[in-house]
């Protein structure tokens, strides 16, 4: 109940009359007072989240010669090195998103069928894996499929040769990143896939429908929008992933990535940070665009139900 309404109720016996300017002002003041405890968080958020983004936009538009314009974006898009980084990131994110959709969708469905008890162990494992990226994970994979890794050795003894490319290659990076993004995809999917009702499958069975037909006509159409939305989300998160790529893509043969370029610029360059700012703004625009798309698709998905 809002303060103004309760104020009116107090003077309930008096005939209804228009609010005086004074009581309006008092109402507004008490509304402001009511919202006051939220102001530190809002100010903090503006200072630490909104302001930095504005600073990035400003730096990306500022020209070294003075004035503002899109020259920095033109410079980034016309430099072959920078274009390769953008292409590398896009390609990595697309493969990663596709892998997550293809492996993660059946995985999430399988986990839903495990029931509460089975999921009690799987969920924490998935949760930890999402925040496990970094040097430790890279080292573990080095011990497995590096040049003298355990699996590499096993392969060499059985078949000869070393089939595994380096961790910084497109293959290596995708394999490593699945450790983080696959659980993310599953965690995103579980609640929405959980909307598939057992009654629907029972109804399909009663009407003698095959399992394939059930999935084609009922199951898949229901979860398809969510698959699309979550794949999109993994794409965005892969574009922005940093810790693992930073650790493994340090050789010249590695895949060039936007985030790693930003990081290296920020750490080394004393001046000329406009390239980092421009890359960061490109990532920002992409994230805002996909977030919008994500919500639109999800709303569509929710409408079906």
């Amino acid at each position: 109940m809002s303060p103004t309404r309760s104020g009116n109720a107090d003077s309930g016996r008096a005939p209804a009359r228009p609010l005086s300017a004074q009581s309006l002002r008092a109402g507004r003041r008490s509304r402001v007072v009511a919202a006051l405890p939220a102001s530190p968080l809002i100010l903090f958020g503006i200072a630490c989240l909104v302001l930095p983004l504005l600073a990035l936009v400003k730096s990306s538009l500022e020209l070294r010669a003075g004035g503002i314009g899109f020259d920095n974006f033109v410079a980034v898009l016309s430099s072959s090195v920078d274009r390769q980084a953008i292409l590398g990131s896009l390609q990595f994110a697309a493969i990663q998103a596709l892998l997550c959709a293809v492996i993660g969708t059946p995985l999430a469905l399988a986990m839903l069928r495990l029931g509460q008890r089975g999921r009690r162990w799987w969920l924490p494992l998935m949760n930890v894996a999402t925040s496990f990226g970094g040097p430790g994970l890279a080292f573990a994979f080095l011990l497995l499929i590096g040049t003298s890794g355990a699996i590499t050795m096993l392969w060499t003894q059985l078949f000869g040769g070393n089939p595994f490319p380096s961790l910084g290659s497109m293959f290596g990076l995708n394999l490593l990143s699945l450790y983080i993004h696959l659980p993310m995809y599953v965690i995103l999917s579980l609640p929405s896939f959980g909307m598939l009702r057992p009654e629907w499958w029972e109804a399909a069975q009663v009407s003698r429908s095959s399992r394939f037909r059930y999935w084609r006509r009922v199951g898949f159409p229901v979860i398809a929008p969510f698959i699309a939305a979550h794949t999109l989300q993994i794409f965005t998160w892969s574009m922005g992933s940093y810790a693992l790529p930073y650790v493994v893509t340090d050789s010249p043969q590695s895949v060039p990535l936007i985030t790693v370029e930003i990081g290296r610029d920020l750490q080394s360059a004393v001046f000329g940070l406009e390239r980092a700012a421009t890359f960061a703004v490109l990532l920002m625009v992409l994230a805002i665009g996909t977030m919008w798309l994500y919500r639109t698709i999800q709303e569509q998905g929710a409408k079906i139900l």
């Binding site: 919202a35 989240l49 995985l107 069928r113 930890v128 355990a150 965690i187 029972e202 980092a276």
Partner: protein, 285 residues
């Protein structure tokens, strides 16, 4: 009932098994390497020792880095608790108008890479207060801003499910003051939400890499940055220590995560799921 909806079929068991191997193998190999005394050119180690565990768990470098990570985590949690709980209370109980503003802010760390937030912070301080760059305060504030949604969503969710508004009105009718109501009625009712949110914030602050690397670098070597130095450096024994510490961290996080799922309501058992429960489409409003 058939296996399409309940119970797991053969192909599903194979899939789950393969995924378990994919997630388990790195842990097994880390444990093996941390215990290995000689492991050159063989599939499995030839000799085993506890030396790496002894040196890493008593190494001053490791302890110092872990201490720094812990201090950072405690400060981040403190800032988030102080800022988020009153704001969430206001957003649910007294002034619903602020909710869309907070929701908009809370989406930022989910949509944007934390590296971009860190980069923005670097540009902002360069312009406004260059002396802040590399300071502990700036690092803590930025990580607190990036992690606050975990706590906010947990608390807001708990306030809504526990009907905090009706609780406060009931308390007010029985003559309890505002502050009294919050401390005696509201906070106890949302205890589990606060706890699970706090654990999520703590877990992400403890393992944070992008912001720490950008805003502090070597000036404040947390455990993840120590791990990076061990990974890149080629000094003998570094690998074993890295393996031991990484394995320990994973197990500790796993236990923490088990705790989160146990104390949480079954409806909202994962951080990302909760984060995206926010998306208006799924909330119905």
């Amino acid at each position: 009932m058939s296996s399409a909806m309940t119970g797991t079929g053969k192909s599903q068991r194979i899939l789950l098994g393969a995924v378990a191997v994919f997630f388990g193998l790195p842990l097994v190999v880390l444990l093996l390497f941390s215990l290995a005394d000689g492991w050159v050119g063989t599939i499995l180690p030839t000799e085993y020792t506890l030396a790496r565990w002894n040196t890493s768990l008593s190494s001053e470098e490791v302890l110092a880095a872990a201490g720094r990570s812990l201090l950072l985590t405690v400060c981040v949690v403190f800032i988030d608790l102080v800022l988020v709980i009153p704001a969430a209370y206001v957003a649910v109980v007294t002034a619903a108008r602020v909710r869309p503003i907070i929701h908009a802010l809370a989406v930022v760390p989910f949509a944007l890479p934390w590296l971009v937030i860190a980069a923005g912070m670097q540009f902002t301080t360069a312009e406004i207060a260059p002396s802040l760059f590399g300071s502990f305060g700036l690092l803590t504030a930025t990580i607190a801003a990036a992690t606050f949604p975990y706590l906010y969503w947990a608390v807001e969710n708990a306030l809504l499910t526990n009907r905090a508004q009706e609780l406060s009105e009931a308390a007010a009718v029985s003559g309890a003051g505002g502050l009294h109501t919050i401390i005696r009625v509201i906070i106890p009712s949302i205890r589990t939400g606060i706890m699970s949110g706090t654990l999520l914030v703590a877990a992400s602050a403890f393992g944070e890499f992008a912001i720490t690397m950008t805003l502090a670098g070597a000036a404040y070597e947390t455990l993840p940055l120590w791990a990076l130095r061990m990974f890149s450096g080629r000094n003998p024994g570094a690998g074993g220590e890295l393996a031991a510490i990484t394995f320990t961290t994973f197990i500790a996080m796993f236990v923490l995560s088990l705790l989160i799922t146990r104390i949480d309501t079954p409806r909202s058992n994962t951080k990302a799921a909760r984060a995206f429960a926010l998306v208006p489409a799924t909330k119905g409003k």
